[in-house]
């Protein structure tokens, strides 16, 4: 697990772990920040990145909460911390989660959350979250 803090670092695709980085099911970026837009363009791979502005509510209640978690899923993002934190906590109510996050400047975090298909009954949960950052 990494919780590396890189204040004011310049991150590019070449700097992030290569294994699996270009494959994900969702890529979220905070459209208010130039750096997030740039990194989204570099790191989202083949999928269309999803613009957000910190608030997870609409993304979650608008569909992600009803996603099929029976198969493992990978989500990535360049967002504020609260978006990452809220998504992580919501997911662990559904599935087991492995999360990695790096702070890249005052506002933004670069993160990956992987889910697997354990404990997907939606009844419990976040205690399955074994790698809280």
């Amino acid at each position: 697990m990494s919780s590396l803090v890189l204040p004011n670092a310049v991150i590019s695709a070449a700097d992030v772990p290569s294994r699996g980085w270009l494959a994900c099911d969702y890529f979220f970026f905070d459209e208010r920040f130039v750096e997030a837009r740039r990194l989204a363009g570099e790191l989202c791979g083949a999928i269309e990145p999803t613009p957000v502005q910190s608030d997870i509510t609409a993304i979650w209640t608008g569909g992600l909460a009803r996603a099929d978690f029976t198969a493992p899923m990978t989500m990535k993002g360049v967002t504020t911390e609260s978006f990452y934190f809220c998504l992580k906590i919501l997911l662990v109510d559904q599935v087991r989660v492995d999360a990695q996050v790096s702070r890249i400047d005052r506002d933004l975090h670069l993160w990956t959350i992987r889910t697997d298909n354990h404990f997907k009954n939606g009844t419990v949960s976040w205690q399955n979250f074994s790698r809280l950052v």
């Binding site: 509510t57 662990v92 702070r103 400047d105 005052r106 009844t123 419990v124 074994s130």
Partner: protein
């Protein structure tokens, strides 16, 4: 870090207790080792890594399992820290006051047992979240509204027990609870109010039953574990119209509160409305770095720029009108005319707000009971993501509001933080909730916050202002300020604790209430 054991419990006893728990709930619902990390406070303040850490967690699925767990804990002396969903993150999350405790995680007990549209109530278990209950009402087309706090993932039951507040006319959650089921420390189950009568059909309709009203002693307490609770729900009104009034100057808060008090007491202002400060509202849609790159709190020039950019004031009053349009129109006329006396006051309805995200558009949803997580946006204001609430209560007077504001904002800024406060308007009192956002990764900042918080508690108490709720780290400090007549109230709490939980296994230290064997060196 080695797993912590509570004082007086050895490793063998702990292991035997956990094994008994596995027999009760199944081995997959007892959590140890790395799994316990998820029960840590995500926004810790203490730099002592041994404080507020659970040893393990157990997740029952029924009242019967809770009974068996309590009996086993009583036999071994292992302390439990019950949580409903453990998402009260500004106050410690699922973390215990007393390190080495086993978290009793009731998030699996998430049944909505009854929703009654005719009488407007629900009976729920601890694991039911606001999202769960809202989705249930929506899916069944029921004409009932929830009252929600800011985080929609919280427990309906847990929030009421912790004296949480929301934003509709049903905003005082504990006022709206009716009837409990409680597991006592000896494993016995009690139903309160009318629920004590076999065959009674008014458990969720009439609070008091016969004899002493005891529900209150199970709120913010460690006297029992609430496993069911009734909550009153608001009938969907015939109309709904949210509004926002902004005020330009810091000192306007005094006049605003004087205008507001009679309107609230007379129910012209119908809901648990709030007046929020500039930065708190700005942080819903922006971060500090978008306006200011300097150190410390933002200067006045930056505050003015934010006000202009976002069409918000130094103070922003969000309220709503509920009921048939002719009634709402009449109420609005009174409210508008009253606040128009404040120079610079501006009036908005949602259709007037063009920017997105926007504070009124956001609050328009919470004031109609739609659960959200939007409020977490403010954690991003300065980066670093930690937050804590300082929440003294004062009378609804302009003098008190301005005094409170100046006391708290002055100290908060002196310690290098921006003032992010709100005044939640009760019928006769203000909850002045100041959110202090800090960098949770900075040991220095956490230490500075700790000093600030202790100072705020002392200074508020010296002026007669007491906090209504607090983070686990400050429960002793806050309890210590309620010390009238040689700590008579705490002594009474301790007497109840000793009678109901003589071995002290339920949530030691909750609200400053410690069992007898752990009181040495603690007040009173």
């Amino acid at each position: 870090m080695a797993e912590l054991l509570p004082p007086g419990v050895n490793a063998e006893t702990m292991a035997e207790t956990l094994e008994r728990f596995r027999q009760i709930v199944g081995k997959e619902w007892v959590f140890t080792g790395e799994q316990v990390v998820s029960y840590h406070d995500p926004y810790p303040i203490s730099n002592d890594d041994t404080r507020y850490k659970a040893h393990a967690a157990v997740a029952p699925s029924s009242t019967e399992q809770v009974q068996e767990i309590v009996k086993a804990a009583n036999a071994s002396g292992v302390p439990l820290w019950p949580v409903s969903r453990g998402k009260n993150f500004a106050y410690g999350g699922a973390a215990p006051v007393f390190s080495g405790s086993i978290v009793l995680d009731m998030s699996r007990m998430n049944r909505i047992l009854e929703v009654n549209e005719k009488f407007g109530y629900a009976l729920v278990e601890p694991g039911v979240s606001y999202f769960d209950l809202y989705n249930y009402l929506h899916a069944h087309g029921l004409k009932l509204w929830l009252d929600v706090p800011d985080p929609g993932w919280g427990s309906v039951l847990g929030n009421a027990l912790d004296h949480g507040v929301g934003y509709t006319p049903y905003g005082d959650h504990f006022m709206m609870q009716c009837g409990m089921e409680v597991v006592l420390a000896n494993g016995e189950v009690v139903r309160t109010g009318m629920g004590a009568m076999p065959g009674n059909n008014t458990w969720q309709l009439f609070k008091y039953g016969f004899g002493p009203y005891v529900d209150g002693i199970f709120s913010q307490s460690n006297f029992g574990i609430v496993t069911k609770m009734g909550i009153w729900l608001m009938p969907e009104p015939a109309g709904y119209r949210p509004y926002m009034i902004t005020f330009e100057r810091e000192e306007d808060i005094a006049e605003v509160i004087e205008i507001l008090r009679p309107l609230r007491l007379n129910n012209v202002i119908q809901n648990a409305a709030t007046i929020r400060s500039l930065v708190l509202d700005a942080a819903i849609s922006s971060t500090k770095s978008q306006y200011y790159s300097g150190a410390g709190p933002i200067p006045d020039s930056v505050a003015r720029k934010i006000m202009a950019d976002q069409a918000i004031g130094m103070w922003n009053f969000c309220g709503a009108l509920y009921g048939p349009p002719p009634i709402a129109d009449a109420l609005w006329t009174v409210i508008r005319d009253a606040f128009a006396k404040v120079p610079g006051a501006r009036f908005y309805f949602p259709e007037d707000r063009k920017r997105r995200p926007d504070i009124l558009i956001h609050r328009a949803e919470t004031m109609r009971g739609i659960p959200k997580l939007t409020e977490f946006n403010f954690l991003n204001w300065a980066g670093g993501g930690g937050h804590i609430g300082f929440s003294p209560v004062s009378p609804t007077t302009g003098i008190d509001a301005l005094k409170q504001y100046r006391m708290v904002s002055g100290r908060v800024r002196e310690y290098g933080f921006d003032y992010m406060g709100l005044l939640a308007i009760g019928f006769r009192e203000l909850h002045h909730v100041t959110v202090i956002v800090y960098d949770k990764t900075s040991a220095d900042e956490r230490q500075r916050l700790d000093k600030l918080f202790k100072l705020l508690v002392q200074e508020a108490a010296a002026e007669g202002y007491g906090e209504y709720r607090t983070h686990i780290q400050y429960m002793d400090a806050i309890a210590g300020t309620y010390k009238w007549n040689d700590n008579a109230l705490m002594k009474m709490h301790q007497s109840i604790k000793d009678a109901l939980d003589p071995k002290g296994i339920l949530a030691p230290g909750k609200s400053g209430i410690w069992p007898k064997h752990l009181r040495d060196g603690r007040q009173p």
